[in-house]
Amino acid sequence: MKPDAHPTADDGPVLTIEGLSTGIRLRKADVAAVSGVDLHLRRGETLGLVGESGCGKSMTGLSVMGLLPPGGGITAGSIKLAGRELVGLPDKHYQRIRGNEIAMIFQDPMTSLNPTKTIGEQVAEPVRLHRGASPKQARDRALDMLALVGIARPAERLGQYPHELSGGLRQRVMIAMALSCEPKVLIADEPTTALDVTVQAQVLRLLHDLKDRLGMAMLLITHDMGVIAQWADRVSVMYAGGIVESARTGELFTGMRHPYAQALLACTPRLTQRRDRTLFSIPGSPPDLAHPPAGCRFAARCAHATDRCRSEAPPLTEDRPGHTLACWNPVDGPLGPVAAEAQTAPETPAEPAEPVLAIDDLAKEYATGRSLLRGAKRSVKAVSGVSFSVEPGRTFGLVGESGCGKSTLARMIVALEKPSSGGVTALGGELGELRGRGLRRHRRNLQMMFQDPFDALDPRMRIGAILREPFAAQGIGTAAEQLAAVRDLLDEVGLPHTVLERYPHEFSGGQRQRIALARALALNPRVIVADEPVSALDVSIRSQVLNLMRRLQAKHGLTYVVISHDLTVVRYLADTVGVMYLGKLVEIGSPDDIYLRAAHPYTAGLIAAIPEPDPDAEPPGDRDGMDTEMPSPFDPPSGCRFRTRCPRAQARCAEEEPVLRDFDPGHSAACHFPLREPQPAAAQVG
């Protein structure tokens, strides 16, 4: 770290935002996206801006960049960059600041790069523009920047196109591009939300190091309290367009005063979450900012709200030095162990019941046809040799990074996809042998819940029609009986009967996921396969849906297969957890086996990469050694597929493919050099 990276006493803030209000004019209404936000950023400092989707955190960032979407405009307040007012600056002058003095990186690296320009051209562009560099100079600068952000073989990358790079590499390219003119301020808007957890840790560490090296100020916008706890120096919590609380990170996490900050932290899933408790959730959903409520905007969802809260908006005042707050009835510190009532855990059957679902040596290969250039046949082994079984009323959780084959596996379980080999036995029937009507009848008992509640419901069908469709497809009941069943379903998932006549776009993400769950439940299935059921939802809504899933499981004796990249979700729901890597099951066991006694280095690395919402926890990324990304499934590494990223890999790993070995009863892992000693081979025979 350079000595000048730390702010000196006389250093004023680089960026000062005072009373910023931003509105967006839509066809029907004016939305007050940001209202009266105050922020300041010093050199070398990371300010975390945390809040749920739609709270105005991205709009704040875009206001600073002067890049509001069409119809958007700053209605009041000031933004000063090193003393210079930016609000009202003509675009011609603003252009000299953007990418030069303030840079921004965005959430999705897959779409943030121009697909028809080379990496080199794109990284060199700001230098050409702002520094007037010659093509040669700009190219050299691009090369330096790619090396700086830790991209191996940068010269080779310069001539490549974005589609040739993985997500993590593309985000590094984005960072290189943003930092190429050494800006004073970097706005990072959800920089790692679209990335896998192991890659997230690498990218955040890189941003942190570069901020120190270049002496920048960083505004880190995120919804993730874990990311904030690990990487921000100070935190501002936003809700419904306004800042509700700002403090130093340590102080906020231990001594928060605003009920929303408290609730947000309490909702954040943790690995230590007790499975027998319901998750903390905030009732209701955020207000409509086209018609913001009078008074405190959180009042409608706040447990401490009084009449004053509902009528008079609390101003942002300094509660203690460096700790500001907008609340009439502050709380004191985080919630203790969750006070929610204990949930009746599903009774454990006295003796192991017959599995309701058995997956035997399942494999799926996709032929990708001939490649245009080489003419050789290629295939992707999306899933290879996966076996497990699930007992009735239990939950099997499947975790792994994107592209590991977990969604393909899900689709095979519900017979939406035919396996290349191996079989799925569900409720005593082998799915591969069922055809036509038999398969249709069988499908009743196998239902699926999809990740994206925005895509999973037909936008042109009313909710009533969507929920009745399963009955109609199976030819069950008269119209009146179907309607009665649909009303019962809505009661089950906690939605009013009035939704029947409405269309999917009228609902929020959480409500849509409830509708999707109601549809999955319609035919009284025995098994529900949920593919990333909550990853598109905000934390406060996420716990509502997870609680609902648990409640319905207990009530109907449902069997779940829950697939997620989020280890905390699986930890909360699952009785058995399987870890997948490049199409293979590398470890399987009880949640405690996986999370406390992991034997496979990949499992341990995954768990270590999760940022804990605790500023005192060790930042992830230091311990696991997984500083690369998953190799392409087109040609997986020989032997153990994880060996290219494994800190323990030896020559044997490249030659011999490890088989699953037992470590505890019901706990096995496929590794030559596991983190723990396996049970002796003799014990495994039985």
Partner: protein
């Protein structure tokens, strides 16, 4: 890439063979004997039969087709008895003028449609966008002959500033030597394509404007104009490239009408006259050439897309 093009060429041959068979059967099956068509209604039955026998039209259709195919393999498209010239010569004589008219109209249409579409996308839902949308819909839904008639009515009959008939010179480059006389045919032909292209260009540009990389480019400090020219344009033109390749049939039919309305001596007029004269060999030859051009147009479009879009180069 070479392999891909070769494979596509292979399938193209099959398509063209199919087209030749279908048009052959249609033309021969629809009316009476070719002899009757050529000699006219007044000719005696004996004369017609004698003509058919002499030129092999009394043989079975299958044999006639293979005979025709044999000619094709030697590059012989047949003989027009009406005009007493080989079809090859007739087509060759007129192809240059039609190609020139189509090319100029097409280039003009692209030059107008690309900026129009991008302008409409950037100024989405503004008055300018709405007016242009209305105009393009009118032009798009208008039959070619009507557009031609309207232009003649206004500029030739009404204002009297432009001639109603195209230049009659036999030179291929008449568009450049007598531009005033060619203005109306070219405008008519581009008019219909510009409407379609600008709609496509507008929606393609809208798609691209919503992409994150546009916002990233702005965040780098590029002006809106630089973003449009350096980043958006190439991406927004990819769908248009495919469209242009596929719009060759549209151009050919456009030619047919425009050339007959403006009396411009080209392939379209030749086809139109042959249709009136029931001159089957010419119709057959023209259809085959048109089919070949269409298939090749698609192939060229796909190759061009691969050149513009690096993502399609390695699949």
């Amino acid at each position: 890439m070479v392999q891909y093009v070769l494979r596509r060429l292979g399938t193209s041959v099959v398509v063209i063979l199919g087209v030749s068979l279908i048009t052959f059967l249609l033309l021969h099956g629809m009316s009476g004997s070719p002899g009757r068509a050529i000699l006219g209604v007044q000719a005696s039955a004996e004369a017609v039969a004698a003509f058919d026998r002499e030129h092999g039209y009394d043989r079975s259709l299958v044999i006639q087709y293979f005979d025709y195919l044999g000619g094709l393999l030697h590059g012989d498209l047949g003989h027009s008895y009406k005009l007493n010239q080989s079809v090859n010569a007739l087509l060759a004589e007129n192809a240059g003028r039609t190609a020139m008219l189509s090319a100029v109209a097409l280039i003009l249409a692209i030059c107008a449609a690309v900026p129009l579409g991008v302008f409409q996308a950037v100024k989405r839902n503004s008055i300018g966008d709405n007016v242009l949308t209305a105009l393009t819909f009118v032009a798009y839904s208008m039959p070619v002959f009507l557009l031609a008639m309207l232009l003649i009515q206004v500029f030739a009959m009404g204002l009297g500033v432009l001639p109603a008939q195209a230049a009659q010179s036999s030179s291929d480059f008449v568009i450049f030597t007598e531009p005033r006389a060619m203005l109306l045919p070219v405008l008519t032909l581009s008019g219909i394509t510009v409407a379609m292209y600008s709609r496509y260009q507008r929606s393609a540009a809208l798609d691209q404007l919503a992409q994150d990389y546009i916002r990233v480019a702005r965040a780098k400090g590029l002006s809106m104009r630089m973003v449009l020219t350096r980043h958006l344009l190439r991406n927004a033109c990819i769908p248009l490239v495919t469209l242009i390749g596929m719009s060759i049939p549209l151009l050919l039919t456009g030619n047919l009408v425009v050339e007959s309305v403006f009396n411009y001596p080209g392939l379209g007029l030749l086809f139109f006259n042959s249709l009136n004269n029931q001159d089957y060999p010419v119709l057959l030859g023209y259809t085959l050439v048109a089919a070949t051009l269409t298939v090749l147009g698609n192939l060229v479009a796909d190759v061009l897309v691969a050149a513009t879009d690096p993502r399609t180069r390695r699949a």
